[in-house]
């Protein structure tokens, strides 16, 4: 080694800079390739006919994905209706009520469950939730309701862990001030703790939405994948993610480009949600 230390330092710095840039490069590549494949069809068929088109028959030249956009949002809100109250209550319980030992056990246990793969949730949905819906409520069981239930459970770890962090970071003095005024525990939580943690809690809901709208394998197993806008919670539906996963393996030509157009729409929705979630978290830090 005849090189002087400062040149070695420089080499290291350049290599590390290149490594750090790789994340940006990958993000760029992902955007570029999905856009390059997906955009031509928007130009050829027209933005309106794709986004607001009702008919998806890619081999016949129809690329309407409006029902799938609506379905994606429906299952996401369904998941939120089920997952958000449960998750928030769980987070409040963990941060305000549970003892230290229970907390030390429950929090990691709940986070471990975030690791259960989505195919397993989907499978259990098919075996247990779908027949329940079919038997007691009618329809085929492959439905908006069943999908929402499974997605609601799937977003629980996200909602719990992020709103828990927000609740815990509310300063103790806020609570003590409230208790000193003679407020009960619930009054303190409801009027002081939750409002202070509001932006973090909202961020947890939005990140949960991001997870639900991007979920694929569980959804195609339970949703029934029908190509129309569901009119009742017992109707089957097909989401944007499901559309891609169901047809990508055999699609060619314009059909494949149609799937990338679906991907473009999904990518835009996800980026907006992530931006909102990060913006919400930033506001909390600023305060």
């Amino acid at each position: 080694m005849t090189k002087k230390p400062f040149t070695k330092e420089n080499v290291v710095k350049w290599v590390l800079t290149a490594f750090a840039l790789s994340s940006l490069l990958f993000l760029f590549l992902i955007f570029a390739f999905i856009l390059v494949e997906g955009l031509p069809l928007f130009l050829k068929i027209g933005l309106k006919k794709i986004i607001f088109g009702f008919k998806w028959a890619p081999t016949k030249g129809y690329f309407g994905i409006f029902p799938m956009i609506v379905s994606s949002f429906l299952v996401t809100f369904g998941a939120l209706i089920i997952g958000a109250p449960l998750g928030l209550s769980c987070a409040i319980y963990l941060s305000e009520y549970s003892g230290k030992k229970l907390k030390m056990f429950l929090k990691p246990a709940l986070e471990l469950l975030a690791g259960i793969p989505s195919v397993v949730y989907g499978f259990l949905g098919v075996i247990y939730i779908v027949p329940l819906v079919r038997e007691y409520l009618g329809g085929s069981g492959f439905s908006l309701l069943a999908t929402s239930i499974i997605l609601g459970v799937m977003i629980l770890p996200t909602v719990i862990s992020i709103s828990f962090d927000a609740l815990v970071s509310v300063p103790r003095t806020y609570r003590e001030g409230s208790f000193a005024m003679g407020a009960t525990k619930w009054q303190t939580i409801y009027r002081v703790v939750i409002p202070s943690a509001k932006s973090g809690i909202l961020a947890s809901f939005i990140l949960g939405m991001g997870r639900a709208i991007g979920e694929t394998m569980a959804v195609i197993m339970i949703a029934g994948n029908a190509l129309k806008i569901p009119v009742s919670i017992l109707d089957p539906l097909r989401t944007l993610t499901g559309n891609i996963a169901l047809e990508l393996a055999y699609a060619t030509g314009d059909h494949r480009q149609g799937l990338f157009s679906t991907g473009v729409v999904l990518l835009v929705i996800i980026m907006i949600l992530n931006y909102i979630a990060n913006f919400g978290i930033k506001r909390k830090v600023l305060k």
Partner: protein, 278 residues
């Protein structure tokens, strides 16, 4: 009529207890069902024999090899990239527009759903780079997917290393790189390892991104250009096409147990680190 706040307080407490219990119960039931239904079919023969007749009979040996192949190589690629990025962000620069851009990139990568990784890997690695459905295409896609996790956890771990250690190292006239390799990384190693284990867990459970890049061949992959099948993909195909419920449950059990095992190790390492520094 005004209800006494203390009554509400008690009611809420009971309600929250119930909801928390319910949530935990759901998750316990999920694991329990997989365990009870899968247990009778998992034995050494199942683990060490290859699938026959599309997975209707036989075991999951080729899927285990496929999973191990995918995880190991993705970690080999993603660890230097991720840890290098984390070192760059914490030790080699000050906060600037440049670091903000990199952080934005990492956050965005973390938020992209796996099906879009699948879509990208399919068009870029499988088609444009002509890799076909192969272990290599799967590994490269997975590398990008787990990169954000490794960067974030490594960054946290490196930030938690006390400043004094660095100051002492510099005062002994160590260069920056010497300080990083001999002081910072050894102290941050458990935290970095946590990130790696969490990433392995993610790679084991991933389906959407893998099925469109690595394919779903049932043979044991012997080269990087072979297609292969991971346990998650195998389970998905068994369950979705109704090939065999017994084998589906058994595969699910092996899958869930390996992920829980990996994640438990990850959290165990993390907790030891937390107790060391606090």
């Amino acid at each position: 009529m005004r209800i006494n706040p203390r009554v509400i307080d008690t009611a809420v407490k009971i309600g929250l207890n119930g909801q928390a219990f319910f949530t935990v119960a759901i998750l316990v039931v999920i694991v329990a069902v997989i365990f009870v239904k899968g247990c009778p079919y998992v034995n050494l023969g199942f683990l060490f024999s290859s699938p026959e007749d599309m997975g209707r009979h036989g075991g999951i040996f080729s899927a285990i090899i496929g999973t191990a192949f995918l995880c190991f190589l993705s970690i080999v690629f993603a660890t230097p990239l991720g840890v290098g990025t984390a070192i760059f962000l914490t030790e080699y620069t000050k906060e600037s527009i440049f670091t903000k851009m990199i952080r934005f990139g990492v956050e965005s990568l973390a938020g992209i759903p796996s099906i879009l990784y699948g879509l990208f890997g399919f068009i870029f690695f499988v088609i444009k780079l002509k890799m076909g459905w192969s272990v290599l295409a799967g590994v490269l896609t997975m590398t990008i997917m787990i990169l954000p996790t490794i960067i974030r956890t490594s960054e946290e771990a490196i930030k938690a290393v006390p400043r004094n250690l660095r100051i002492v190292s510099y005062s002994l006239s160590a260069t920056r790189w010497e300080t990083v390799t001999k002081v910072v990384i050894p102290s941050a190693a458990p935290g970095i390892l946590t990130g790696i284990m969490l990433s392995v867990g993610r790679a084991v459970g991933e389906t959407a991104a893998v099925i469109f890049t690595m394919g779903s061949s049932l043979r044991v992959p012997t080269s990087l250009m072979d297609s292969g099948r991971t346990m998650a993909v195998h389970f998905y195909i068994l369950a979705r096409e109704g090939i065999s419920m017994e084998n589906a449950y058994a595969t699910a059990l092996v899958l869930v147990l390996s992920i829980l095992f990996i994640n438990v190790i990850a959290y165990y390492i993390m907790n030891r680190v937390i107790s060391r520094y606090s």
